[in-house]
């Protein structure tokens, strides 16, 4: 038995789950319908796949949610996990699940997958015969992904950086790296049985004034950490920046560099896809405007040639959307995508060159770190502020980078902190910023956060 397999046996020996039958799971995955694999859909579809967000405590409510989504012609179903499960607190999840079932109210903000178990969940997933994507935010997702994969969920979102810096205050970062290594390896193993399991990184991060250079660096690093463990299908992602031009530039650069670095590290056989998140920042308290915002980001997704788009709803500012509002958003997005065909190729040489330089500059510093493994180099780079995201709640984040928008809403470095972009790149960024005399940076930031309000 390999070391990994021994660890897996221990992980699944958990009082909250029934006996975990690895052989049966292996057999299930080997024979599973191709339709469950998003990697298969990516290969055989030229259209942008549409995926909403969503999850409810009970099996029945998720089943209904999926029905609603299917009627709206969804391409990829989401399974959003509740926050107790995310923190490995299966006891509370169990209690809240029974309360939810008994009283017909939602006592959890997502689906407690571990408690439901793979035997039950698999029924639903094979019933709809549609790819499902696991949306969680769990630093230690080992048991969760075992159950997910056994259920037929063949896309796993997250990563040691992107599910940590925006989602946690003090979870130890080294543990996050090691637990995610486990996730990558299990995905890699199963990828040999049928179509590949797809891994997806979470590019939106804190969803607030994130500089594209940092986002792309993190995407590329999580990609490399994943491919390194044998994953063969990976999605990099980012969210609408607030500037159509910056989205286009980001897309062109991330597509080019993802392929470049994957090849450079010897992973020419891996497929890399691009996922675009509709606006992830503060939404207006106005459903009409929210619809307009969502539609605009759908148009941008088409223009940048994303492979998948993850949708929001008109209820975003108000609260978790009903299944109806959620499905409506999917239907509208599908409608708009349907009308956008044969779009022109767009770019901006100067901007793309600058962004490419910045990414190379930061990555060079990461790769030059003296540590012996890539994950330790990344770890050190975050610790010493080479990688530093605005508005992270995590104590390890340097918080020295300050970004503001230029007059065309592009996000620019105002302070670079310890991020090792060159003086030339930084000068380019600064040259775009026009703060008038007497303008306070904090007022500008508040205004820039609220750009869509």
């Amino acid at each position: 038995m390999t070391l990994l397999q021994r660890e897996r046996e221990i992980i699944v020996r958990n009082e909250y789950i029934d006996h975990f039958d690895f052989d049966e799971v292996k057999e299930f995955i080997s024979g599973a319908s191709k339709n469950l694999f998003i990697s298969h859909r990516f290969k055989n579809s030229k259209e942008i796949l549409v995926q909403p967000r969503g999850g409810f405590p009970t099996y029945d409510k998720v089943f209904e949610l999926y029905k609603e989504f299917k009627d709206a012609n969804v391409d990829v179903l989401p399974l959003t996990i509740d926050s107790n499960t995310r923190l490995n607190d299966y006891a509370t999840a169990k209690k809240m699940l029974s309360l939810s079932e008994a009283n017909d109210t939602d006592m959890l903000n997502g689906y407690p997958l571990v408690n439901h178990g793979y035997r039950t969940t698999r029924k639903m997933i094979t019933h709809y015969d549609t790819p499902v994507s696991l949306r969680h935010g769990t630093p230690d997702a080992r048991l969760l992904i075992e159950v997910a994969l056994a259920s037929g969920i063949f896309e796993i979102e997250g990563g040691p950086i992107t599910y940590l810096l925006p989602y946690s205050k003090n979870f130890p970062m080294d543990k996050a790296f090691l637990y995610w290594k486990y996730v990558e390896r299990v995905c890699a193993e199963y990828s040999k049985l049928n179509e590949p399991i797809n891994r997806e990184s979470f590019g939106p991060l804190s969803a607030t004034l994130q500089p594209p250079a940092i986002v792309i660096v993190i995407q590329l690093l999580e990609m490399l950490l994943s491919l390194e463990e044998g994953v063969k299908s990976f999605s990099v992602s980012f969210s609408q920046t607030g500037s159509m031009l910056q989205d286009i530039v980001s897309s062109n650069v991330i597509k080019k560099l993802a392929r470049h670095y994957a090849d450079k590290f010897g992973h020419d056989d891996a497929t890399i896809n691009l996922v675009y998140h509709q606006w992830m920042g503060a939404f207006p308290y106005n459903r009409e405007y929210s619809d307009s915002l969502i539609n605009t980001s759908t148009v941008i997704a088409s223009m940048i040639g994303a492979d998948k788009i993850i949708t929001k709803t008109r209820n975003e500012a108000f609260g978790i959307p009903t299944k109806e509002a959620n499905a409506l958003a999917v239907a509208n997005v599908k409608y708009t995508l349907g009308m956008l065909k044969g779009l022109p190729k767009v770019g901006d040489e100067e901007e793309e060159e600058n962004l490419t330089n910045e990414v190379h500059e930061i990555l060079e510093a990461v790769f030059n770190d003296g540590a012996d493994t890539l994950w330790r180099q990344v770890f050190n780079s975050i610790k010493n502020g080479y990688i530093d995201i605005p508005f992270s709640p995590h104590i390890i984040n340097a918080n020295k980078v300050i970004t503001v928008r230029d007059k065309n809403s592009n996000i620019r470095f105002f302070k670079r902190g310890s991020v090792p972009i060159s003086d030339k790149s930084f000068a380019f960024e600064k040259s775009k910023i026009s703060l008038k005399d007497g303008d306070r940076v904090v007022d500008k930031i508040i205004q820039d956060i609220g750009i869509m309000l």
């Binding site: 926050s83 939602d106 903000n109 989602y167 946690s168 205050k169 804190s206 609260g319 709640p393």
Partner: protein, 135 residues
């Protein structure tokens, strides 16, 4: 005036918290920001330790109710000096409910000022008015 602030529960929405920190300081308050992911007991301890005049709690992810409904009980256990103001704001419940329904409920939990989906500046204006009035 001293204010203890932060985001309650397992909530990691940090953006408003950073802005509140800045705005309070600008309005002349002395701010103790406990950041996101802070439990009610930690808040109350901080109020005692700093001898704060105001406790300003944020909650965005809908968890407020679960974490705050025992405030009344805790208040009676702690020995607060008179006139400490308990204030909460943000997006206080899961799903959609009206402020008319939420405000009285949270007042019954022991909050003096409750703001559901209200801009922070408006909330802070109200706080200052309240402080003036209760002088």
């Amino acid at each position: 005036m001293k204010v203890v602030t932060g985001v309650v529960g397992n909530d990691i929405h940090v953006v408003a918290n950073r802005l509140i920190d800045i705005s309070l300081a600008e309005r002349g308050f002395e701010v103790f920001n406990l950041g996101v992911n802070t439990y009610l007991e930690e808040f109350l301890d901080a109020v005692i330790e700093t001898d704060a005049d105001v406790l300003l709690i944020s909650s965005l992810n809908g968890e407020a109710e679960g974490w705050c409904r025992d405030l009344q009980i805790l208040k009676s256990q702690y020995n607060f000096r008179d006139n400490v103001i308990f204030m909460i704001g943000g997006n206080l419940v899961v799903g959609e409910t009206t402020a008319e329904e939420i405000v009285p409920r949270f007042k019954s939990y022991g909050f003096d000022l409750v703001f559901h989906q209200v801009d922070l500046n408006e909330g802070l204006d109200q706080l200052e008015l309240f402080l003036k009035a209760s002088k």
